[in-house]
Amino acid sequence: MEMGYDDDDHHHGHEELHVLAVDDNLIDRKLVEKLLKISSCKVTTAENAIRALEYLGLGDHNQHIDTLTNNNLKVNLIITDYCMPGMTGFELLKKVKESSNLKEVPVVIMSSENIPTRINKCLASGAQMFMQKPLKLSDVEKLKCHLMNCRS
């Protein structure tokens, strides 16, 4: 079965943030993965919103990946590109927030375009943060701090 998402093999302690990074752009996906790994996160990547939903257990085909009881798969943060073919990052955000299991998972939206109405729309629908692309290491460090503070 074609996976369409990429999972990190190393199992670290559960204090480490497990991030699901969603982006249809191959280079951006590789970069965001490295940015997060260098910032000590466990990373799973998905090349589109549908694969992301499947990984989260919200897919149509209901793959029974038990994200609730299996700590290794539990996602602490979703970071997604806004502009993606098929389902957008905004639509993915809404699906996550509509899910009783996953609505508490923070969702960060990334976009290369700085459009205030877009930003407000995402924040109003429950996005934790909106980040301007291209991402820098300092952006990810700030994000981590923000999230760790929210958790404790």
Binding site: D24, N25, L26, I27, D28, K30, L31, K34, L35, I38, C83, P85, S112, K133, P134, L135, K136, L137
Partner: protein
């Protein structure tokens, strides 16, 4: 050529790419992501960018050569290339893509053809310069020298 001279050449060459606007500060993010676990990360990502861009440019050429141009197909390609070039700091490619997108919006076929040529030109330029940059680095390493992220930053 002696090691110190090679390192100076590399620094000067790198600097020129920024001065000419071929690269922007985003390129300097890449060495910060490189560590012992992934000591050729920068060249890997750049190679990936080249492969991906070659493919996109090919698809763009084909799409624009159709009798009836489908802009719903053309624009996403340009968007992709704009995104990846921006992410690795290939400033002039990115800027050329921005112009290209505005003509896609206007559905101006002729202007889009010109834009594609411009994007290709900028792309081959940055590709050529980065390949030279990596060769210079390889020569230094082969001579027993070391490259640090500091050599690229200023």
């Amino acid at each position: 050529m002696e090691l110190g001279q090679m390192q100076k050449s590399l620094q000067d060459y790198t600097k020129s790419l920024f001065v000419e606007g071929i690269l922007d500060s985003q390129f300097l993010q890449l060495p910060q992501l490189q560590d012992e676990s992934n000591s050729d990360f920068v060249s890997q990502v750049v190679s990936l960018f080249f492969q991906d861009s070659d493919r996109i440019l090919n698809d763009l050429s084909l799409s624009l050569d159709q009798k009836v141009v489908d802009f719903e197909k053309v624009d996403p390609y340009v968007h992709q290339l704009k995104g990846s070039s921006s992410s690795i700091g290939a400033q002039r490619v990115k800027n050329a893509c921005v112009v290209f997108r505005s003509f896609c919006e206007q559905k101006n076929v002729e202007a889009c053809h010109r834009c594609l040529q411009q994007v290709k030109q900028e792309y081959y330029l940055v590709k050529n310069r980065l390949e030279t940059l990596f060769k210079l680095e390889q020569q230094i390493v082969a001579s027993g020298g070391m490259i640090s992220a500091m050599d690229l930053g200023f």
